[in-house]
Amino acid sequence: MRRSLTNALIAGAALIVAALSPAEAKDTVKIAFIGPLTGGNAAAGVGGRNSSMLAVQLRNADPKAKFAYELVPFDDECKPNIGVQVATKAAADRAIVAGVTHYCSAVGIATVDTYARFKLPVVVWGAILPDITYGNDYKQIHRVNGTMINEGKLAAQFLTARGFKTFAVVHDTTDYGKGQNKYFSEYLKPAGGEIVATFPVSPDQQDFTAELTRIKELKPDMIFVGGLTPLGVRVRSQMERLGVDARMAGVSGIMTAGFLEGAGAAAEGTISFHNGAPLSKYADGQAFADAYARAGFREDPDAYGPFAYSAANLIMDAVEKVGPDRAKITAELNATKGRPSLIGEINFDDHRQNIVTANVYVAQGGKWVFWPDSEYAAGKRTIAGR
């Protein structure tokens, strides 16, 4: 009771101050947020929206800010056709000066031309397909999160360094799975690993007994899965059934609570690779978590929330410096080097791709644990196999 009274007093005071102070005169600058707010990937999308919303709220509370900011959220439903529609809508609105865009790779790659045509600078916050930044030379497209190149490279180096030398790859035949397979295979050879067989499979295939029996015959040290959660769950549980005694590692698509629930006890010891680090590993992670909790969002920031937060801040920093002009913001974002942010220092390369390193996670006791903190790294548990 006392708390709500205090809150009411603060709110009232804030209103009076706002009405009297010159902050009233600030121009409003609009920034678009685009991500999957409904559908199967909504958890990631809503987490990203909340995180960038938080960045905007914190900036608006800062008296030193020259502009007032407004986040305009759009739902791309993780569908390329819808994505292009909302991207066009956002880009055609001259009041919007920049965008924090896309979680799904298929949508991210479909919309790059739209942003370039309308000259709207955007910062990608979640999609990991390399071609979004490396497949074109559009000055408008930036990305704060890493790509599957980072993940594939780390996976190849980490696994071979742990003594796994022979691999069987099972990947789905979408751009996502094919890309993951490509980069993992590319980096595996120089790292000293060998692929004994590659099985491209359809993403909704249920039965893997034929593939896994063949893999069992080939006796690889490890099975590498390039796909999303359902694929990971099926491969892991059917390995159990057929008595395949290799271990399993997978791309970030399987690093979900759904995988742990689906594979049950068999999930233990599965290794995965992800661009993001746990919040507690970021210098300002705790502050972000506290502010996020204070802001009263009902949903989690999710793994890519900190990236969306950093992308929004990067854009607002640029607006503060050069004003709400698309061309000037583009030039300012292009030149980003050594910029401190929640997710660490942001450095854009010549394709406006942030240089990040991926992280290793392991399923331990029904949770995904940051590898250096895990009992596996400490030697208390072992990733058996052979």
Binding site: V201, D204, D207, A210, T213, R214, K216, L242
Partner: protein, 305 residues
């Protein structure tokens, strides 16, 4: 390839085949009595599996007896699927009996979509794959490189037994006689005192019960079920039924094993082509339908002129 792996591949193929055969049998039974294609059949399989999962979770939280949970789960699956099959049959298919067949096809396709989405939205986190509890003893039999769980053998034998029992039911019992009579000529069957509606609903119940058992077998074997698994299973079951001979009894069983055989063979021989195993299997189906338009084992009296 050593003999152990050959045996393992053979076992995998048999397992898939028996599941396909049970679904294909349903398609064939429905086509036999009413000349309709009921496309919601695959989703009835899913419904059975989810009903079993729910019942098992409920029983498991009351008494820790895996055997009892399994039996009750199976019964719940059969009850739910039978009910769904009879409701779809009684309210959607029977009234449209004299409408163009494409109407029935479409309406059951939509009924299937409703079932599938209801499972996705109604079950907590229904969009994610759900783990199915391992209720059978999981000791393994290892002979050289051939390793098989006792549970897998149990599931396979149970499936074969259900297929044989269905055959027995249709060929040796009064209900079976009625089903065959209606299939041959509904009017004459009615004249000789067979209750048409009851027989048709009985057939839908029988086919759906088979689907429920197939759903439980899938769950027990793969230890995972998901809301959309019925979609592909339905198409495969339908293809197996058509290639074997819609309306016949042995045809769909043969078709099921054939489909599984081609899928397994493709994966073994060309690993990099494993993404194309469904393509290969459906291509074989197309070729066989071209060669044997009425199926490998056709209905004895074809009504199509």
């Amino acid at each position: 390839m050593d003999i152990g792996f050959l045996a393992q591949h053979l076992f995998n193929g048999l397992m898939l085949g028996v599941i396909y055969a049970m679904i294909a049998l349903g398609f064939s039974l429905f086509f036999g009595v009413l000349d309709v294609i009921k496309f919601s059949h695959g989703d009835v399989v899913t419904l059975g599996a989810f009903a079993a999962l729910g019942a098992i979770a409920f029983v498991g939280s009351v008494v820790p007896l895996p055997g009892l949970a399994l039996v009750l789960g199976l019964l719940a699956a059969i009850a739910a699927s039978m009910a769904a099959g009879m409701v779809i049959g009684g309210t959607l298919v029977l009234p449209l009996r004299n409408a163009p067949p494409v109407n029935v096809l479409l309406i059951t396709l939509m009924a299937g979509t409703i079932l599938r989405e209801a499972i996705r939205l109604g079950v907590p986190n229904g969009g994610n794959p759900k783990p199915f509890p391992a209720l059978l003893p999981d000791r393994r039999i290892e002979i050289g490189s051939f390793s098989v769980g006792i549970d897998s053998v149990t599931i396979l034998l149970a499936g074969l037994a259900v297929v044989v029992a269905t055959h027995h039911l249709v060929t040796r019992t009064r209900l079976g006689l009625a089903i065959r009579a209606v299939a041959q000529d509904p009017e004459v069957a009615c004249l000789s005192g067979i209750d048409f509606r009851r027989t048709v609903l009985g057939t839908f119940a029988l086919g759906s019960a088979l689907a429920a058992v197939a759903g439980c077998m899938l769950g027990l074997y793969y230890r995972e079920i998901n809301f959309s698994m019925g979609l592909v299973l339905g198409v495969i079951g339908f293809a197996a039924a058509v290639v074997g001979g819609l309306g016949s009894l042995l045809g769909p069983i043969l078709g099921g094993f054939l489909f599984a055989g081609v899928q397994t063979l493709v994966t073994i021989t060309v690993p990099s082509a494993s993404a194309y195993k469904d393509v290969a299997a459906f291509a074989v189906v197309i070729a066989l339908i071209g060669l044997f338009p009425t199926g490998l084992i056709s209905e004895r009296a074809s009504e199509r002129v």
